[in-house]
Symmetry: C2
Subunit: 195 residues, 2 copies
Amino acid sequence: MEDQISRRRSGPDTRAAIQRVALELFTEKGYEATSLREIADELGIQKPSLYYHFKGKEDILRALFDERGDEAEQLLQWIGEQPQTPELVGAAVLRWVQSFSAEKLRGIRFLSANPLIGRTFEGRTNDRIGSTLNQLVDRLTGLLPDQSPSKVLQLRMALLSINAAVDAATQTTFTDDEVLAAANTVAIALIDALL
Amino acid sequence: MEDQISRRRSGPDTRAAIQRVALELFTEKGYEATSLREIADELGIQKPSLYYHFKGKEDILRALFDERGDEAEQLLQWIGEQPQTPELVGAAVLRWVQSFSAEKLRGIRFLSANPLIGRTFEGRTNDRIGSTLNQLVDRLTGLLPDQSPSKVLQLRMALLSINAAVDAATQTTFTDDEVLAAANTVAIALIDALL
DNA sequence: GTCTATACGGTGATAGAC
DNA sequence: GTCTATCACCGTATAGAC
């Protein structure tokens, strides 16, 4: 329960509110196209107030990335503990896809709207976005009976089926659950074709 | 064969050269993050010279869009001429996917790097990017035995398998042919799961 | 066609009062 | 913590000489 003391503007935790609004706008209009003034306006505060909570625009972005979970690391560890068979590929991909809840779709949508941000960011932050995906692919590739480029790329696509589903559903009225279900179905179909 | 008369700077057709460089940079760094100065520098000309060939930055973008082919319209027409059976769905999707050559992947990569550009542009130009895809989906949806949201979304994903393949292959060393082959394989797998 | 010079607005960012 | 005032800079865009 939150206390009821009078609060105007952004609320009890301004920092979290900034992140929330920033994620929204970055997803809607893109990181570059979103100005700090717009973020401040949306919160009903002045632009310089943002600088009390964050060092700058890029720092807001970094905070967004740092907030991210580390499902990929956990999955990597889990894979290591399993018997290393070709069947593990399908199991791991499904585990990955199903680790995304409706809540986590917001992160995917942000990344989908800003595909270049991750690359620019690489090295500067704990880059755990793309590089762990690559580790994941590498580990699973080793288990594939056929490791031809075509198959490896299909494996990547299977892992990215959530992203593909989100992309396919943009500007439509599909619900989050429908998106997740489609991603799951597609992942299964791709794994079947893979083995 | 091109003639050998001496040409400095941007070459015989500056307008085309500007478009070429712009497409490159927009794809690499994103439309918003690319400045006209960078485009001019790359061509070895001065920034205001661009304004002789284009009305402004957005006009360069528009020219890029207008250059695009109209495979979607052609496909729509072709669909109308065929017997309207469920099997037509798979045939149409494959036709669509296979209409993309290595050459056309550049356009896909640009759109992949700038996913929000199309939406912002909508209405202002001959928006033939996303809206014809929707028409395509609508037409094909009518042929599906099961028209549940999940199936419709899977149909969208099948049509977007080229985009998904391009996304999955970014920052890797896959060749264009491998990307196209993977898109084709994935499209087939998704159609199989669809019918 | 391409240049130099410049206008003008908006951006991220800082200083310092309250 | 949030504000007002202000900064330097860089963006797109224009005028006019060559």
